[in-house]
Symmetry: C4
Subunit: 222 residues, 4 copies
């Protein structure tokens, strides 16, 4: 494996780890401080997550493309921007990174490294929410790519901040994030039993965005 | 109809739908979580709406100009940037998109697809507020156009975040948005009976901005 | 008077009016919604003010330089960027605009056009705060000028958002704003009797920034 | 000493002073207004700190590189971007500036110039938090340097806003800031006895980021 590829894989692992540390850590902090007001918790959680996404994309786009998300990598594979073996490496790095990020958040807050979430996240509204969340995320990325890294970074960060609020599921929108969040019982957790439907919805949403974007840009469509 | 035009119309429909899904969805989420504190609700609602506007404009300006607003399309028609038939298509796409966005928000939150708002939004202050809101929005767009898409996107997003707070009506500033928000009984709704005066005020505000901007740029005015 | 100059004066008047409408309007809205929590009020007030400043500077810098502030105009006069007669016109436009903005905010919220503030804003801490606030504002402008309008706009907006919080006076930092805010009894008001010391402190802070910046850039200093 | 160097040292002193005035001042203001809700306090504190960092970096990067942080200066020394004597001057300026900033914040709020913090900030979670905080900060700076000052400024501001939330220590991430915050008993303070472990953790985190970044960019690594 070439050094370039190794740097990309480390970037995906590191970026996804910091993303999850932010999602879970800011959720724990918010829960500890917000006197039970869940809107203030989500405000802190959504601003912190959006902010770190901008930073991670500006910092790591040059190394790996800054996917941090299996459905994003899948779409770039379908666009032939990355190869099949690169896809496998990326997914593996994202999953490992996501789990490390959750453990890191728990360790920083002196909590058990793994815990269990109890409130159900299920039903049609949640499924539709994750489909919309992933559709919007992938569409925002594909539509701003031509404007350069800063535009993609701003779009992804602002999109996720908004989507935490406008979807009923608070926009997981990322299978690696979803799986790893099943390891925390805090504010941002999910029951393992609810994970498969979330991931299915995210895949459908991402595919929808991919085909729509291809239609917009199809040779001869203009 | 050419493919280019079709892409523009799809972009207007899609963008307006996501805008409304954000306005209404984030309002429902905020209302559910904020323990009755309306300022926290409006904070979430205004940040989410401003954020998604930046994303939608960065993403779709290249396809349709990213109007998502009948009075904006009207002003661009008066400036001869779009033709009369394009204007009709745009208005239709924006209205359809806006309605779809409200239905989508309700579906994501497992609510009846349509509901009714009960608190009046009426009186001189509300009328003046919508006039100011639309004036400021159109003026901000026209005055930042020459600085490129990123400046327009930032200006519109930040303007709306501010205008949710500084106008007594929370700045609908958009006839398609106003009509569609008559279909929700949640935080961001409006009674159908209050819609016509809102739209009239928005038209007046937009026209005022258009004529002012034309004065600033009139041939020979410098 | 040339048309160019007239456009600049209208820009100063319009920009300062919208600035004040935002400061006062968002204060009234926040006070009405925040259930007595003054931190949430200031959060809304500071975010709205910072946001509109970015928009106004991006929109109007090309017309007038987007000062909206007598001490900023004074500093640009001392730098010989504007003439003495331009300075007079600018100050007049800013004062008129500021008053119009307060009246507009009151009208939008169906309040008496003028009202009176009762809580004292006085003492050494307030004086020092306004001196620091105006120093930082003018320093931020002078130090980012060479980076172009977008950098100045972002700096001014973010600076004011921060300074609302880190100064004990909530950073008026602007004599026209200070005078006009003496016309409102709402959240963002000030007693007329406290205005002179605020303005004196702002002048001192601005002068300090001007001389410091001149030292940094003095011919032969590098 | 050349004038250029003197300007750099003044810039480091001034920037670090304004940074600390913001951290401490916004903490005092938030504590006074937030009715005991610590999440709202941290929201204000994190937004104000992130905002001022963007301003200070945009304003002063051209003078001194805008470090305002001994571990950042140390890393730039190890990269041979600054000399050993420059490093000493920078550290001295940062420490003086940080202390001045705390005194200034206290003076603006009419408080005793120095006070003492009582709640412990200690334990493994706090140590790990500061290590992660400083690692992330230095990594974000090194990874965005090639994108220019605006990208670094945005990254640092957004990173700190997020890190206030995702680390259990609220991310001091800066030895000068840590020492100076031992002089305030308000929201953002720290006991002097907890300072050494914070600084040790910050040094470790910064070194980790430095070596990681060097690995990414090693000659022949691509």
């Amino acid at each position: 494996m070439k050094n370039l590829a190794r740097a990309a894989i480390i970037a995906e692992l590191l970026g996804t780890a910091l993303l999850l540390a932010t999602v879970v850590g800011s959720g724990i902090m918010a829960q500890a401080l917000a006197d039970g007001n869940a809107a203030i918790m989500l405000l802190a959680n959504s601003l912190a997550t959006g902010a770190i996404l901008v930073v991670l994309i500006l910092a790591l786009a040059g190394e790996s493309g800054a996917h941090f998300n299996p459905v994003v990598s899948l779409v770039f594979y379908l666009r032939k921007d990355i190869s099949g073996s690169q896809l496998i490496y990326y997914l593996f790095a994202q999953l490992c990174g996501a789990v490390i990020g959750v453990l890191l958040a728990h360790a920083m807050f002196d909590q058990p490294l793994v815990s269990e979430y109890s409130t159900p996240r299920t039903g049609q509204g949640q499924f539709l929410s994750e489909l919309v969340a992933a559709f919007g995320l992938v569409a925002a990325i594909l539509a701003t790519l031509r404007r350069g890294v800063a535009a993609v970074a701003a779009s992804v960060g602002l999109y996720i901040t908004a989507a935490y609020w406008f979807t009923a599921s608070t926009s997981f929108a990322n299978p690696a994030v979803t799986l790893a969040r099943a390891l925390t019982g805090s504010f941002s957790g999910i029951r393992m039993v609810d994970v498969p439907m979330f991931i299915l919805a995210q895949l459908l949403g991402a595919m929808l965005a991919f085909y729509l974007a291809r239609g917009f840009r199809k040779p001869g469509s203009q």
